[in-house]
Amino acid sequence: MADPRSADIKDQPGFRSIAIICLCVLYAPILILMIFSLNTGSLVTRWEGIGLGWYGSALLNQEFHNAAKNTLIISVTATIISTIAATLAAIGMTRVKPWRGLSAAFMVINLPLMVPEIITAVATLSFFALIAGTLGLNFGIGNLILAHTVFCIPFAYMPIRARLEDMDLTLEAAAADLYATPWHAFRRITLPLLVPGILSGGALAFIVSFDDFTITQLVAGPGQTTLPLYIWNQIRRPMTPEINAISTILLLVSILFVSISFLIARRRAK
């Protein structure tokens, strides 16, 4: 029997293979979907030739345009509102003397992460139905923007808070010693240092809003189709590789924003 210390003490037998299997399992379906989006044939799973034809027909499709427009309106607005609210909340809740209700406030911020999405979805649907019924209020696409803003806030909040906690306090103290007003110290010292956290949080908020299906499907009114809803409508018809093309576009947007968020957050570590 080999002495365990002859190899690296950190190694455990078989763990490398399992890790590689996991990676393959996670990526194989996505890659297959992407490859088939380049298929020129009209069947989803029979390969005929390589080409970008289905991207062309997807991008020229009026329904796709409307869905893309709705998605962008909702996710950009929800990202901006939630990132501002999350930044303010992170400043108000980090590096301060613990105030009464701080842990309750923290729970409220994180609530959307703890409640299963389907419950949030039916609760939001009931809420908007109630205010439409009793107060006659209907914000149209604003309903979706508000619903998205709620679950975007905790995602934007996490990286901003992490950044604030890592920040060097002495710089602000130095600014104060040099007679900077608190606002000046914030504007010229804290905020620039906070920017990577805000961008990283904003990118995450954008992805979760851009990709949301469950809550959007239940809350959306007529004519409020977003890209994930558009894909869902396509699944129920005879499928063409156009759906692979649109799915690939959605995946690429996710990958782009995750990478941005990841790289910005990593720079801090150096």
Binding site: P4, R5, D8, I9, K10, D11, Q12, F15, I18, A19, I21, C22, L23, V25, L26, Y27, P29, I30, I32, L33, T45, R46, S82, A85, L88, A89, I91, G92, V96, W99, I109, L111, M114, P116, I118, I119, V122, A123, T124, S126, L146, A147, V150, I153, P182, D211, T214, L218, P228, I231, W232, I235, N244, S247, L251, S254, I255, V258, S259, F262
Partner: protein, 309 residues
């Protein structure tokens, strides 16, 4: 002189207090948004679950416990007696089994993966984390769709097996329990790996070395040193998989095809074709209760760990 000085100090303290108060107010916008559009809706479904259903969806403002009774019983139309109907209960139990199996398999696959990642040199580690992070944040609907393309009757697996002559007729995999289980595993595997990784990354390997010095075998080091030390990460990972798996909606919707239901579809159905909002609200709250039980065990376990040091 001295009193003027102390007065100035007093002013300063007052000003500091006021600024601290202003500071706190910054968290108000986020709290108000989540309070009105996140917490209030949850209270509304509590109220709705005690109302009567309106015939075309929505509720009638009339107190009723029918929603909760309907969860377990069905009223006989002839003699108006309640009859025990376990249909919903069975769907809840099925979902529970799905979620438990998903959690266990994700842990069995995710732990070695996270451990392997955590023991790579730092530069390689970052790449691994990015590779696991991408599916974590990728569109769940699209990822589920990708699974559907592979296991369909005309999908890649069946086409390949038929081309090789292994089978003559396609094996039905889509719209089965197997499809749902596979989809859940695929969806939530990254949710297990990332919390495990962040716990294993902080593991003190001097303890592992000490165990080897005391003649522990590799297996003993794994079970008696590494796993106990990473328990907080294991619990967090299990919770992050179990809760969304229990309330899964997209996976059974697409891979179960409306034949094999889970709690998520059942709830959504009451708001769609079922037209029984109070029942849907009651079902959602029963799911929420299950989630709270899981969270309670988590909090109790983690705070217990902290007390022991």
């Amino acid at each position: 002189m001295a009193s003027a000085f102390s007065q100035a100090a007093l002013f300063e303290a007052e000003a500091e207090k006021a600024s601290a108060r202003r500071h706190r107010l910054l968290s108000l916008p986020a709290l108000i948004i989540i309070g009105i559009f996140g917490v209030l809706p949850l209270l509304i479904i509590v109220i709705y679950s005690f109302l009567a259903a309106a015939p075309y969806g929505g509720v009638q403002w009339q107190f009723s416990t029918d929603a909760y009774l309907n969860f377990l019983f069905q009223r006989d139309i002839f003699d108006d007696t309640l009859q025990f109907t376990p249909d919903f209960l069975i769907i809840y139990l099925r979902s529970f089994v799905f979620a438990v199996v998903t959690t266990v398999i994700c842990l069995l696959l995710g732990f070695p993966t996270a451990y392997f990642m955590a023991t790579r040199p730092p530069a390689q580690r970052n790449w691994w984390v990015l590779l696991i992070t991408i599916p974590f944040w990728s569109n769940l609907l699209v990822r589920t769709l990708a699974i559907m393309f592979i296991i369909r009757d005309e999908g890649l697996i069946n086409n390949a097996l038929m081309a090789l002559g292994v089978i003559e007729k396609p094996i039905t995999m889509l719209y089965t329990n197997f499809a749902i289980q596979l989809g859940l595993l695929y969806s939530f595997l990254p949710f297990m790996v990332l919390p495990l990784y962040s716990s294993l990354e902080k593991l003190d390997f001097r303890l592992v070395e000490a165990a080897y010095d005391l003649y522990a075998t590799r297996r003993q080091v794994l079970w008696r040193v590494i796993i106990p030390l990473s328990l907080p990460g294991i619990i967090a990972g299990c919770l992050l998989v179990f809760i969304p798996a229990l309330g899964a909606y997209v996976t059974p919707l697409i891979l179960g095809g409306g034949i094999h239901l889970m709690i998520g579809d059942l709830i959504a159905q009451q708001f769609g074709s079922g037209r029984n909002w109070p029942l849907g609200c009651a079902q959602a709250l029963i799911l929420m209760a299950a989630v709270l039980v899981a969270l309670y065990f988590y909090v109790r376990n983690t705070s217990g760990k902290m007390r022991h040091g």
